[in-house]
Symmetry: C2
Subunit: 238 residues, 2 copies
């Protein structure tokens, strides 16, 4: 038998997606530190090591709340990431040792995902961290293997939404326009939707309820608002 | 900040399901040890702690091979289990400390699942372990939280099969009878299937191909064999 791993660390990381009507957003934390090339600032997912006697789910909710102020959402564990190389970047090693106050071997992270409305107020409690909604298409190189975690989370979300489209409406405001739902489709699946076919489908969905209200103060023609009726959806999908 | 978890251990566990034509089976390892009440023998999932520089997936394949001789199958990571209580049973603590040769805090396990044909030869390489196919309905109390892991794996399998029934045919022999497929439905979903409705559905599936061959040496009327045609299935489900 080879030598076994004596002291791996275990963390949780949260991939929280939002949508602003045009862009798919991911909630990230700024990280600042010193590296050999000087002071730097980059981004990471909200995450941290678990406490000694804490459930994984409890840790995920705690860490998300501490770093972003977000609570009362549903976090779904979707995969653990445990490549021995995921914490090998010199910048990540230095940052971790400062954050955790000890030498780090490897860290296995248990990753969670959620789809939420972006109007929740962000507020961090941990010193020196700031939470931001970032455009998913512009995140660049994140800390550790967090690009891979985000990609895994997005694939998980795509599959979930293909099975059950109600996940889409977690991301939309309570009242939304047809164009917003179409944009959301496009940014989640990364491909253009045919406007005419989408419209045919859209008006055929009995659980999308048109409202009297229309957009206000817009340059283009004001679009109608709709809402998603979960009760009607559930009745026709059981 | 509370004290963080310094030394959790990380393991992998594999929930491997099989089917013998009548019963859903799970692959378990015998565990023997000494407890305060004397020598005991019970069962656990194939699993062990990961090595220091080993991917989670690699660890799962290695451990499964070492403990059961099974290789060349597809293991799907489905969830991590990390309750602080999952390794608190005195019997489990003593056993772990003997197996790992050190004091144990807590163990987070990354769980994998697979559906395989039960005709694979079982052969363990690790001393004192024996792998057995056990009837899922009769497994009783397993070590650690392995009953919970098995339950989670079964729920995962049910969802996967509802999305894509091809998983069923991973469990069946290459040629199978209608009754075997019906039994498999019943044991996976834990409910009786109406024979007549099932038959109607069964003969309507274009990807189930009747063979010329029938059962031999059976007391009842010999049933026809069928095979699953993955190419036809994929053509009609894209």
């Amino acid at each position: 038998m080879q030598e076994t791993s004596l002291y791996p660390h275990v963390s949780v990381d949260c991939a929280i997606f939002g949508f602003d009507g045009e862009q798919l957003k991911i909630l990230l934390i700024t990280r600042t530190g010193e590296s050999e090339e000087g002071r730097y600032s980059d981004m990471k997912l909200p995450g941290s090591v678990i406490y000694e006697s804490e459930n994984l789910d409890d840790a995920a909710y705690r860490v998300l709340y501490e770093l972003t102020g977000i609570k009362n959402i549903y976090l779904q564990q979707f995969r653990s990431f445990g490549s021995p190389d995921r914490t090998k970047h010199p910048r990540d090693i230095v940052w971790l040792e400062n954050a955790i106050h000890m030498k780090i071997g490897r860290i296995i992270t248990v990753a969670y995902v959620a789809l939420i409305k972006i109007n929740q107020k962000l507020r961090g409690f941990a010193d020196g961290y700031e939470a931001h909604w970032c455009n998913l298409s512009e995140i660049g190189q994140l800390a550790f293997d967090h690009n891979e975690v985000v990609e895994g989370a997005l694939n998980y979300v795509r599959k979930k939404i293909e099975e059950d489209p109600t996940g889409m409406y977690e991301l939309l405001p309570k009242k939304f326009t047809e164009a917003e739902l179409r944009n959301l489709h496009e940014v989640i699946f990364g491909e253009k939707v045919d406007i005419r076919n989408f419209h045919k489908k859209f008006i055929s969905l009995n659980y999308i309820i048109p409202l009297e209200e229309k957009q206000q103060n817009v340059a283009h023609r004001a679009a109608r608002y709709y809402r998603f009726d979960k009760i009607i959806y559930n009745k026709s999908h059981r």
